[in-house]
Symmetry: C2
Subunit: 278 residues, 2 copies
């Protein structure tokens, strides 16, 4: 199967490695707006060749979108305008706007809207790793809108990668991911900004930072191109959960201002119940 | 060296294991207000025997306080009232109130105020682990207030455990740890509370939670007895940094409300600079 990967960074690059490892792609074409990334993806062996989008589409059986979510809807339309029997899939973190934009396209059936729940804080071709995706859940939205051959091909890939598949509506997906993925990035960015603002002595951060701080702040290293786009595209869900988060912090702040040890104890005990779930 | 460990939980238990492993304690006495913990600490072999505090002090060369910080100052006074040549050290996460409370005690010289920057989200004797502490920084406050034999004995222990030692004033310590350790726990508790509040479908949390969410929320499993006490005892520093954290979240919220992609991009780029430090 000849596969085109659009966006040869963390997600696209790791997907290329996984496809090749599982024998699911015999020729991989890279498409990337950055000449540096194109050269690097080839150098690293993530892709066999790089081509302009139109040439890549014509040569491919499968076309994979692994670019920031603000670019996915328009690129998807461009690709659908040019496909015949090819299968198109995306790997973006938001689904509602995308599914809405492509909903009336005559070739909608060739598209499979997916979101594999995997990532790291790194970005670019050099961040692509072997063994990504395995054991994580992948989401497929609006399965009934995809042609059955396209859906089955994509399901086969994710299954081969060791990913359990969950089927969801786009609205449902975007709401849950706001709670479970997007908000952790916002709190991590805010934590990094807080420490950078308050702690002028970098040496002390470096020396004193416990493992807890390092893991909590790790997500704050994640790419602005990827995450600014996700936040904007999932604006209403993210705002909803962000307002709740600020509310919870204000409850803690007020308890602390009132020396309310019992209140803090109770609220921490409640937070501890997260361990029953995860 | 006969050592008494007061508080046979995560920190005290792990310290007992490390002391024995490095040949720094030939007899370890456990003191714990919980009968369950005393029995369990003995069963696990963390301690050789358990005794009431006064008897333990009389038999010991070194007395280690590893209890929640709200109990450390008063226990420290009780212990200092009963020591002769013994060395007393604490392992608490706050230092200002403790150092102030013991400052006028005639036996102040026997005390070494320390904070090894290690921990996990678990608690109790069963959470004690081998290989704790190694490679992490430990802080010693007011070194000049400790007798030189006491200071040297404690320095020798931490060095044997593979911990670089930093010397700080208590005020300085409490300010830095608020930024670097205490605030990450607050943001993690708030994140857990937010998700528990907003996401009623626990199965979705479990299925969709990415590695990012799991690590960010891990600290929210930490003990209420330990952390409510730390927040209250370091109230002014923690409030200072918590207010800044809420301020940063509000900046992000406003940018999102205004669809300000460029603003979000810039602020994320700024947060990314944390990777230069940690």
């Amino acid at each position: 199967m000849t596969t085109t990967i659009i966006g040869t960074g963390l997600i696209g690059g790791s997907f290329a490695i996984a496809l090749r490892e599982k024998g699911l792609a015999d020729h991989i074409i890279g498409v990337d707006s950055s000449a540096t990334n194109r050269a690097r993806a080839k150098e690293l062996g993530l892709v066999d060749e790089t081509l302009p989008l139109d040439e890549a589409i014509a040569k491919s059986d499968l076309i994979v979108l692994a670019i920031p979510v603000n670019h996915i809807p328009l690129e998807s339309i461009k690709i659908l305008n040019n496909v015949d029997k090819q299968i198109v899939m995306d790997m973006g973190s938001t689904k509602e706007e995308l599914c809405s934009i492509i909903s009336q396209h005559p070739k909608r059936g060739r598209f499979v809207a997916t979101h594999p729940m995997w990532g790291t804080e790194r970005s670019g071709p050099d961040s692509a790793v072997q063994g990504a995706f395995a054991g994580r859940v992948t989401v497929i939205c609006e399965r009934e809108r995809s042609d059955s051959d396209a859906l089955q091909a994509v399901e086969k890939i994710y299954t081969a990668l060791g990913m359990p598949i969950k089927y969801m509506e786009p609205e449902e997906h975007d709401m849950h991911t706001a709670y479970i993925s997007h908000i952790s990035h916002i709190t991590s960015y805010a934590l990094a900004l807080t420490v950078l603002e308050k702690e002028r002595e970098n040496e002390q951060i470096f020396d004193l930072a416990s493992a807890g701080f390092s893991t909590t702040v790790r997500l704050a290293k994640s790419s602005p191109a990827m995450w600014a786009a996700i936040f904007i595209q999932n604006k209403y869900n993210v705002l909803d959960v962000l307002r709740e988060n600020i509310h919870q912090l204000n409850i803690i702040r007020k308890m602390l201002e009132n020396d309310d040890y019992d209140g803090l104890y109770r609220i921490i005990e409640k937070a501890n119940t997260i361990s029953k779930i995860i």
